[in-house]
Every structure is written in structure tokens, then in C-alpha cells.
Amino acid sequence: MQDTIANLKRGERAIITDVSSIHIPLKLLEMGCLPGNPVQLLQVAPFADPMYLNINGTHLAIRKETAIHILIEKIADE
């Protein structure tokens, strides 16, 4: 199984590899949630939902139900 944003741990960074345009609001794509862009998980609310992310320089919060549709590849910490 591939990693999704929902699997990120706090502080981890990744690169978005694919998004399912049917399950994800266009608004999110327009905010920079597109393949190739970096993402970092900054904070999670209790019960790991919603998630507070930095996607391509934009700080935003999304629900977990959306996060599972954004595929990523984790970047190892330097």
C-alpha cells in the first residue's frame, strides 16, 4: 500500500505523488495540492483529525477523510 498524507507523523515531510481528483475538492488542488509539490505535517488535532499541513508553502487544515486520497512519498530527514 502506498503512503498517503494520513500516514504522516508530526513534522514529517513528503512529496505529493498523486491525487485523486474525484475525491478531492478542486479548491485544495488550487491551493497547491498537486503532484510534485512538497508537504509537511505540522500539527494534528486530537484523534489525528483534522490535520494541519504546509503544502507547497500554504498552511492549511484538512480532514482525514480527504487526506487519505493524497498519495505521497516520504522524504527522509537530512
Partner: protein, 699 residues
């Protein structure tokens, strides 16, 4: 020549668009609604060099021209309709220096509509601090536009922007992206079917799924030679378009912008670590809430008392100075108290909006939405429902208007339906007087029983709101795309000017919106209370005089008895007695019945009505209270306001939907009478049942 230039101010949320608007227009602005819909419309006049004037419209914040809410729909509707009287001669896109990349997406879309578009890069004063440098000439050349670097905080660059607006004819209208690149075949067909139309504009018309431009779309679908695509295919194309736009933007910014990350000092990260923390975050939010409540009640009691006494004496003065007659009565007992009933809430509402404006401007509100979303979602609400529920403690009307930014219709509707349960300030006068009557003024472990009761009533309000949301979530079968994307803006020190303008604006909206209704109702109530059928009413004076002939009453006392007698036999009085059988099981007599009937218009009318019925000359709480304490229950004996009937009355007022203005605003926001009628029926029935149970158990 003094042609007025139409300017549309467009931008992402949190870019400081409102600051730019305020800097351009200052106090020359007004707020209204777009015709036919409830979305707020802000416009203002800006004086440009050489006597030219610009008419500036501040459009709702949007991330793109793909509308997902009513607010955003306004933007695209204006930009696509050349015949609109507000159609812009020039579009000003406001962006923020730190989020330039994302802001440019909207910019390229607007430019592709071939409207002259200039770019404002706002918050330029943060550039050094964030280690960002921009090559403006390069950006101007490749984006084919004019750029104004602006800092509203330091008042820089505004004059340059005014120059650019004045010279709008020099701005290029070349598109950034050729729409047909998105899908050559599809756009080729589109072009063939509509050779005279702008391709990108057609594309936008086709893809919008909000109730927009139906005629246009039907026209497109009616042409057989042109094959429409399925929704998911369209979505895929929209994604492709977005990627294309980002490619273009990335290419431009690669050379036009350099960011030295080592320069950036991250205050945001540190603040976020505390403010969105699992424990500290909630604790801080709780403390902020407490402070707000404390402030709303403590700070506003002084101006409220003042307003109260001013209107009372104004009413008295009118009665004394004007010749006696129906008109004087209407003025003194209908219109002036009616106006007073509106004006008295101004301090509370102003304070509430002051706090909300500061929290929004500073960027904190988004963190609250983040913290509360999971909790609220359990009950079918959204994190964004927190703001309406808090605002509801001042007044449900602005609170219901604050639901507009909730994307999911179901979550928004539920928020609208449950908000009136939160304890608004109009319940406070009723609560205070009844608590003073039936709850002992004693302390337990240093806590006052009376204060505890009041707090409990607030908790009951919130609790019921949340609980009924849970039920509504289960029974309402509404399918609505529920997604939740909240931008977490950078923390900012709020600009005093912005906060002040918001407070003035919202308070004005309340006074004129709700005010009209409260005033109208007061006049109707006055009529129903001042007129009645038959001998009893018309001959009240003689009857009362005869009755008290043996007693030595002063002129004043006699007048009070006459007034009381008249009210008893007026239309309202008759209604009150007619419903007595229904409310007797709740522990009330017909006098309370009258007060309840008249307070269906607005709760705070309760105290005033009792004052009239108990023939108390002044509205002084102390005198009304004494009179109420002495009242005897006609059936059961003993005091009428005892613990059981008092609690029953408190609960009735906690739940019943007694506010015409709220019903009116719900009708406006939901666009049908269905929901306000359900609210009225269900809340009142619930109030009745709870009050009944309480009285029967406690008596």
C-alpha cells in the same frame, strides 16, 4: 471630464484585501447585499488624481474562479456578465507577498478573461523579514501587467496603485494561458460551436456547478454538434488546467522571486505549537471565551443602563409634552420603547464583534476552527460552526449571518437551526428577574446560587444546541458535498482601522436589519395592547374610577390601575386569558400568559409587559420584582412565582423560539419559510413540554 471607473477588488482570503479596500476608500464605503442574495456587498468611492473617481467593489475572498460557495459565486458572476452595471473597467488582484505563488493562480484566471488586470503585492513590509526579494520589472514583463507593491500597515504604495487604476487603459489584456492547451480536441469543438465567444469564458460557464448562469449552460448543451463531458472528466480537465497554470507561475517566479529561507524567523510555528496544542490550545480558547463573556456583560452594562434610562425618560417626556391622543401614545408607548429595545443591544453587539474581528484579523479564529472541527463534526456541525455559536450569545441574527462561510449546506443548515438555542442577550433580563425572585440569595462553598443558576442556563443553551444538532444530523436527509479546507493564515497584529470599520459595519447591519422588524412588531403589539373590543375596554376609565371611588388613590395610582385594566381587556389581554387553560399546568396565570404572548415577538418584552400588567409606574426592576413577589397563585394559593413556576418559566424562555427577527433572518438565509416555521413549532413545543415536566415535578 469625470468618468467613474469601475474597479473590482479581488483576491484570496487573508491577503489583506480588506485593508487595501479600506486604504483606498476610507470612510466612503457602504455595505449592502447583492440583489436577491444575502452575500455581503461592499463598495466605496476612491478619489484619483485629476478629479477622477473610482467606484470600488470589494468582492468576497476567493481562491479561484471555480466557485464552491455562494460568496465565491458572486465573483465569477460579476466577471462573466459584461452587462452588469458593476462590470469592472479594471480588476485589481490583491496578493500577499508570502503566498505569491498561490495568489497568482487567481490572477492568471482573471487575466484570461481579457479584463485589464493589475496586481497588488500586499504586505510588502514583510519582505525583508521573510527573506523574499522580487524582480518587479521582470514580473511585470512576464505576467504582462502592472504591479503595485503595497503595505497598508505602513501606508506605502497606495498612491502608485491609484495611478495604475487611473491609467487602466494602458494595462494589457493578453491572456496568460491559451485555454485550448488544456484539451485540444474538446476546446476545438467548443470553438467551432461558439466561434464568437471567449474560449476561457465558455469553459468557466460549463464547469461551474453552483446555481449560476443556467440559461447560458443550457444553450451550450442544446447545441448538438458539441459533445458535453461527464462530471468526472470535467473535473479531470480542471485539474489539468490548474497544473498548467502552476507550471506557468513557477516558470515566472523561478527568476522573478528569490527566497532566502535562512532569513525567515518563524514566529508562526512557535505560536502554533501552543495555540493548536491538544491541551494548551483548548485551555487558551476556553480562557479567551470566558474573557469575552465577562467583557460583554460587565463592560456593556454601563452603556446599556444609560441607554435604558434615556429611552425611558424620552418616552415620559413625549407623553408629558405632546398633546394627549393616539399619535402620542403610539410614539411614547410603541415607537420609542421599540427603538429603545433595539438600541439597548448595541453595546453588547459592538463588543462581541470587536472581539470576533480581533480574533479573525489576528488569524486565531482559523486555529479555533481547526481545534473544534473534530468535536463539532460528531454533532453534524463543522469547526466553522463555532463562530456562530459564540456570536449567538449576543444575538442570533448576526450569528446566523456568520454561517455563510460553511461550505457544506447540511452543516450550514444545522448550524442555522440550532443557533437560537444559545442564550442570547435578550433572555438575560427575563433570567435575571426570575432568578432574583425564586433562587435564594445564598452561597454554597463561596458560590452564589443565583450565579450558578445563570451559568447553568447558559450551559443548557449550548447543550441543547449541540444535542439538537446531533439529532438533526441523524434525521435530515440532505446530501451535500462536505469538504473542509481551511487556510491557516499567518498571525498578524490586527489593524485598528480594520477592526473599527468591521464593528461599525456589523452593528449598523444589525440595527437596520433586525431593527426594522423589532420596531414593526413593537408597533403592532402596541396596537393590540392599546385597543380592545367592547364596553370593558372602551369604558375602562369609568369602570376603574367607580371601583376605586371609595379608596383615596393618587392620580398616578389611578392611572396605573386604569392602564392595567385596559391591558387586561385589550386584544392581547383577551388572548392571554384565552390561553390560560393551556399554560396553567405550567404554573402560570393569565398575566404571565400575556407576557409570554407579547414576548413571542422578542423575549425582552416580557419584563416591560409585566410592568404594565402589575400596574407599576416605572420600569425599575426592584419595583416590578416586589410586585411579582407579592402575586398570589389564583388556584394553588401561595406565591405565584415560586421555585416550581420560576424554574418552569426559566426553562420555557431557554427553549422557546420567541424572536421574530431571528425567524425573518432564517427565512432570508434558507430562502424558504419551511425552516423558520419548523424552528418555531418544534422549539415552542419542546419549551412547553420541558416547562410542563419541570413544574409538575417540582410543585
Amino acid at each position: 471630464m469625470s468618468k467613474q471607473i469601475n474597479v473590482a477588488l479581488i483576491g484570496n482570503p487573508n491577503t489583506g484585501k480588506t485593508s487595501v479596500f479600506n486604504a483606498l476608500t476610507g470612510l466612503n464605503q457602504k455595505v449592502g447585499n447583492y440583489p436577491g442574495i444575502t452575500v455581503e456587498k461592499k463598495e466605496g468611492i476612491c478619489k484619483l488624481p485629476r478629479g477622477v473617481k473610482a467606484h470600488i467593489i470589494d468582492l468576497p475572498g476567493t481562491y479561484s474562479l471555480n466557485a464552491s460557495s455562494l460568496d465565491e459565486n458572486v465573483v465569477i458572476e460579476l466577471l462573466l456578465n459584461k452587462n452588469d452595471k458593476d462590470f469592472p473597467d479594471i480588476a485589481v488582484v490583491v496578493s500577499d507577498v508570502e503566498n505569491l505563488k498561490r495568489n497568482l493562480l487567481l490572477f492568471t484566471q482573471i487575466k484570461d478573461l481579457e479584463i485589464p488586470t493589475v496586481l497588488v503585492i500586499n504586505m510588502a513590509d514583510r519582505m525583508n523579514y521573510k527573506g523574499i526579494s522580487l524582480d518587479i520589472p521582470y514580473l511585470e514583463k512576464h505576467l504582462e501587467t502592472k504591479i503595485a507593491l503595497v503595505s497598508t500597515r505602513k501606508n506605502q504604495g497606495v498612491d502608485h496603485l491609484k495611478d495604475l487604476i487611473a491609467n487602466y487603459k494602458d494595462v494589457s489584456v493578453t491572456p496568460c494561458i491559451d485555454a485550448s492547451e488544456i484539451d485540444a480536441e474538446y476546446f476545438g469543438n467548443l470553438k467551432k460551436a461558439f466561434p464568437n465567444q471567449l474560449l476561457y469564458k465558455l469553459w468557466l460557464v460549463i464547469t461551474q456547478d453552483v446555481n449560476f448562469g443556467k440559461t447560458d449552460r443550457n444553450e451550450i448543451e442544446a447545441i448538438a454538434s458539441f459533445k458535453t463531458k461527464s462530471e468526472s472528466e470535467l473535473k479531470r480537465l480542471q485539474q489539468k488546467e490548474t497544473i498548467k497554470r502552476y507550471q506557468f507561475i513557477n516558470n515566472v517566479l523561478k527568476k522573478g522571486q528569490t527566497i532566502d529561507a535562512s532569513q525567515a524567523k518563524d514566529l508562526r510555528a512557535r505560536l502554533d505549537r501552543v495555540l493548536t496544542h491538544k491541551v494548551w490550545g483548548y485551555l487558551i480558547f476556553f480562557v479567551i471565551l470566558l474573557t469575552i463573556f465577562q467583557a460583554i456583560y460587565d463592560w456593556s452594562s454601563v452603556p446599556m443602563d444609560f441607554i435604558d434610562s434615556v429611552f425611558a425618560s424620552l418616552s415620559e417626556w413625549t407623553n408629558d409634552k405632546l398633546p394627549a391622543g393616539a399619535f402620542t401614545n403610539l410614539l411614547a408607548d410603541g415607537i420609542i420603547p421599540g427603538l429603545g429595545g433595539i438600541v439597548i443591544f448595541i453595546p453588547q453587539i459592538a463588543f462581541l464583534f470587536l472581539f470576533i474581528a480581533v480574533l479573525e484579523e489576528s488569524g486565531y479564529m482559523s486555529r479555533v476552527v481547526f481545534l473544534m472541527d473534530r468535536v463539532m463534526r460528531r454533532f453534524g456541525l463543522s469547526g466553522k460552526s463555532v463562530v456562530p455559536l459564540i456570536s449567538g450569545t449576543a444575538c442570533a441574527i448576526p450569528a446566523i449571518m456568520a454561517t455563510r462561510n460553511i461550505e457544506s449546506w447540511k452543516e450550514r443548515l444545522i448550524t442555522i437551526l440550532v443557533t437560537p438555542f444559545t442564550t442570547c442577550s435578550a433572555r438575560l433580563p427575563v433570567y435575571l428577574i426570575i432568578i432574583a425572585l425564586v433562587i435564594p440569595d445564598e452561597r454554597f462553598l463561596g458560590l452564589s446560587y443565583q450565579a450558578l443558576t445563570l451559568m447553568l442556563l447558559y450551559l443548557i443553551g449550548f447543550g441543547t444546541a449541540v444535542f439538537s444538532a446531533y439529532i438533526l444530523n441523524k434525521i435530515l436527509k440532505i446530501k451535500s458535498k462536505s469538504f473542509f479546507v481551511v487556510e491557516m493564515p499567518n498571525y498578524k497584529l490586527p489593524l485598528i482601522k480594520n477592526v473599527a470599520l468591521t464593528v461599525v459595519e456589523k452593528t449598523k447591519a444589525f440595527v437596520f436589519g433586525a431593527g426594522k422588524i423589532i420596531l414593526a412588531i413593537s408597533i403592532v403589539l402596541w396596537f393590540l395592547a392599546s385597543y380592545g373590543p367592547g364596553e370593558d375596554f372602551n369604558n375602562a376609565e369609568n369602570i376603574v374610577k367607580a371601583e376605586y371611588a371609595s379608596e383615596n388613590l393618587t392620580e398616578d395610582e389611578l392611572h396605573q390601575h386604569i392602564a392595567s385594566y385596559k391591558l387586561e381587556h385589550s386584544f392581547i389581554g383577551i388572548t392571554g386569558r384565552a390561553i390560560e387553560p393551556a399554560i396553567r399546568p405550567l404554573g402560570y396565570d393569565w398575566k404571565i400568559g400575556i407576557a409570554i404572548v407579547s414576548s413571542f415577538a422578542a423575549r425582552e418584552v416580557f419584563v416591560g409587559t409585566l410592568a404594565t400588567i402589575y400596574s407599576v409606574g416605572s420600569d425599575e426592576e426592584e419595583t416590578i420584582k416586589n410586585r411579582m413577589a407579592g402575586e398570589v397563585n389564583p388556584i394553588l394559593g401561595g406565591p405565584l412565582f415560586n421555585f416550581a413556576s420560576g424554574i418552569s418559566l426559566l426553562l420555557f424562555y431557554a427553549f422557546a423560539m420567541q424572536c421574530m427577527s431571528t425567524l425573518a433572518i432564517v427565512k432570508k438565509e434558507t430562502n424558504s419559510w419551511k425552516w423558520p416555521m419548523w424552528q418555531l413549532i418544534i422549539m415552542s413545543a419542546f419549551a412547553y413540554v420541558v416547562a410542563l415536566i419541570a413544574f409538575q415535578l417540582l410543585k
